[in-house]
Point group: D2
């Protein structure tokens, strides 16, 4: 490949009420508010040296504008634009400076219709990693990954591996060896991007990194003491797949957030992807717990990069399984 993707680095999505979002993400989850205006809230994790990893935009309806990937340099943007154009996918350039803190941005739709964006420059800020006096709630450190429902995981997998240069750490397969779900990475931990079989494309969740399981336990306690018991959808628990300690939350608009820690280093080129059977009870929760129906069925729509309208969904190519069949 003639480009180099670093990692998933930001998500831009809608919320209907910025104050409610601030209370949830800043006061309860412990993200840092870098700045805000009447229609945006720019948030980052405690260890992040960049202006933001999450942009919440005030809007009438939920929807995800783009999953943002950082690349090494400006030339990578050109090379990526060429790739997506050659494939016949829509692309759109956003001038440097037209979005707060951002250099030039390339937006595209990927093979599943997911709106992606690529950028190489974002303003940097002070890291608060050692400002322990400012830690609160779940102590979010940084963005870790995004997870999407797509109708055809095999197709998405092939595109990300072969065209975008991702590697696979773990995957779930059906008994007849069809890929049900896949965990793909650029940075060397379990994933930047996961795909699961389901009507899509839809954003299933954003994964936010914390430094240890006790941050998640304390996060639950803080959420409950603030009246957010309804926001706790699943967990805490240990994933079989990825080995991470996790918690799934729904923000005040229903967007799903995963608090995540404790996967492993996947830097070695000869690391063999780990196969999980759909029927292994320890795959989704190592301790055997099942996910609730909402976790299986609900997700956030993506928005078209040109029109801003919700991206049309397609049915999944693999047969639907019960709620306990997904991570």
């Amino acid at each position: 490949m003639s480009f180099n993707i670093v990692r998933v680095a930001r998500v831009m999505m809608n919320v209907t009420d910025l104050d409610k979002a601030r209370d949830f993400y800043v006061n309860a989850l412990g993200m840092v508010e870098t700045e805000s205006d009447d229609s945006h809230l720019y948030l980052r994790g405690l260890e992040e040296h960049v202006h933001h990893s999450l942009v919440l935009k005030k809007a009438e309806q939920p929807g995800v504008h783009a999953l943002g990937y950082k690349v090494y340099n400006e030339g990578d943007l050109e090379a990526l634009a060429a790739l997506f154009e050659e494939k016949g996918f829509p692309i759109k350039w956003i001038e440097g400076g037209s979005q707060r803190a951002m250099g030039k941005i390339l937006r595209v739709h990927d093979i599943s219709g997911i709106p992606l964006e690529f950028f190489y420059k974002m303003e940097t800020v002070d890291r608060y990693l050692q400002r322990y006096d400012l830690y609160r709630g779940a102590r979010i450190q940084r963005i870790d990954h995004v997870n999407c429902f797509v109708p055809d995981v095999q197709k998405a997998y092939d595109f990300y591996i072969n065209e975008l240069g991702f590697k696979c750490s773990e995957y779930t397969a059906t008994d007849d060896d069809q890929i049900w779900a896949a965990w793909l990475h650029r940075k060397p931990n379990v994933h930047d991007q996961a795909f699961m079989n389901g009507p899509g494309p839809r954003l299933h969740h954003i994964g936010l990194w914390v430094s240890d399981p006790m941050s998640i336990i304390h996060g639950c306690d803080v959420l409950a003491s603030m009246g957010y018991t309804q926001a706790i959808e699943r967990g805490p628990g240990r994933h079989g797949l990825s080995n991470a300690f996790f918690l799934y939350l729904r923000d005040p608009d229903g967007n799903r957030i995963e608090i995540y820690t404790g996967d492993y280093l996947t830097s070695d080129p000869d690391f063999k992807p780990i196969r999980w059977s759909l029927n292994d009870p320890r795959r989704q929760t190592f301790w055997g717990h099942q996910a609730p129906d909402s976790w299986f069925n609900e997700a956030t729509p993506f928005l078209n990069i040109q029109t801003g309208e919700p991206v049309r969904l397609s049915e999944a190519v693999l047969e639907k399984h019960k709620p306990d069949m997904l991570v």
Copy 2:
């Protein structure tokens, strides 16, 4: 009162297979095997200075022989015998030395029909509190409490408070102020003995103490890696009531064990019992999770101190509530 009960100090109950029980309690939960013979397994926690806190007895059927309370001295046994006889409850003396490691034991049935025992003397052993090289699994430190279904919680409450000298730390009440469940203590933490409204008497669970939440998280991981995912019934989570971090397990015979840590000091005579409403979603799990049906319905029978037959159950006096209505 003319006697002084120290704390709940041992439970004697049946298991159908001693080897399976050993694998669960010693290898997975990390209890210490003090000794065993063909029909008994004597277990203690890492901090315990006494011969055992759990006696597992080989038998065809599950059943609990007695919930054992330690008293200060031999005279306390006489005073307790007098009390139970005066009330017309069955009593039975077991000679010192006739049970392994034990002095004289007084067995009785309490007002709900629960078989209790009182003793003042048990052989002591080396504590393994600082033998960290021997720690494994969930690292059980000591017995903490027992929790029973009884048909009439108010009646049990009155007997333990007024006749046996317990104090109440927390309780659950219905909207019309009937006591649904109560947490009673002799040692000054939340409880030695809890009662919950339900067909009974039955033993709901034995609560075992660990020193921190990470022992419980690691315990789950060890259980899962040993193939015990089916044993994990509920949690881990935080109780609203008691504030403890908890995990409920079912041993290979279905007996329920709670791993428990993080309640608080209740030594002050002017500590006011905390009232929880049956309808508070944070009461049973502070984070809002519901208990599974099995947790609500299943429990272990008690055995008659004379005949060894299961104690007859009575229906609960308060109306049945849904599974999410109990701690």
Copy 3:
């Protein structure tokens, strides 16, 4: 005994600057400020249901007014007054209501000259145990114990055991079996009151309880990020004696605070006190670390209950040992 002491329950001591003290105890250690006025700061831990456990009084010089013990009822005060008067020790009554939030108080000097106080009534307040949204810094839960240098540990030991009804959990002895230090309790954990051989009487430290080791680790991080590295005197580490995980701090006036967690239940009347040799390298820090000289030499003076003047010190009866010779 004709009285019943519950536990150590408050300390009243001087600080020279209330704002600096507030920053340290509230912002860094996470104590709750119940209220304050021009010359007092009333602090409590997160689980405490009482108005305060620490009263900081503005003054020119450091000094401890009293170590406060809660008793069961008013009659206990009379019985204690009788005991101290009979022994010829000074006593002083403080009327109920003359100190903020307090009922009647009995002040005395004990056999080592330490100013003690006994009270049975203090106003109660909301507990913040489950207000996790208010947790900060080291998350102090409650007062646990006090530790004093006294010139003659054997004499203090005899008085507390025989006259006041304390029990001994652990002690340090010289090779010729003289008691060098002793850990004594009323509530059933390792101690309410410890004595160490040294010029005295002086207050060595106040022990504050937290619920787990990670609260101490996070406390260190918060202290450092707030510029309090100089306040961290020793630890964190594991005590051999008591098994507790600990951290020693010096407040802005040099008063020593221990953050402490993880000892064990000492309720059993047949629990045998644990003997440590002065020469055991794991006694003071289980991991073998030595205490700094300051920890060995520095302590806070006590004030006379009548005059308010510092209590005169006496030399220790046992020979001085090196800094690594004390817990």
Copy 4:
């Protein structure tokens, strides 16, 4: 560069007694023994999918044979050989299969005289990441980094950055802006390789990764209970530089091991290296503790790749600072 180094991946060093080494690394630290013979012990961490990350070789004297870096493919070995030959540094080829579990190895001396090795192939094995039933002691997960004394840090820095393609995450500088120490990485966390100013080259320590601070606390407890208090040289504590939670140990032969967790992601090409002043008290231990003299002065010699003799030391180019002046 025409080669691609993945990460530091193994260290081969001498020990004088394999049984003592096994007790320390396997029983106390929790490394997995993949296999052993009369003169070697092959160890790996719980998450490692490769045969080993540490080879301990029986010998009369301590000494490090090589710090091993994994590269992407065989071609990388050729390109690296060309680079080192061009620079006039010694190189040596070791045939695939001549070392247990290893493909072809390139050994060289770097610009400071440190023996490095590069390899692309090692046999793979079962990962024990989710064999929680096998976890013990400090629960070592994987090798993380190596840290060396070199006489001229600036020279080493330039070589690793400009010739080998490392990046710098953090560094220490003197008041006149000379580089005193530097943390360099290939995998995107704080480091694979650190250099500190001192007589060298010598290996200061091997950094082993664990998943959370409680693994380190428990590791200390297990070490102490096994009689290894003498092995605990420094910590546990928080590094200012790197933010990691750490513990330094000396193995039975005096080789220094760091247990390490909690640094951060350094993947971004625009991450600005963090500068620390030599005089910042929070640099080496964020909490302000000083390192002991032994930590400052003692290190393990490297061995010549041809002769096996200890590599000659050179004096440091920057003036010696006190023990509290290094991380």
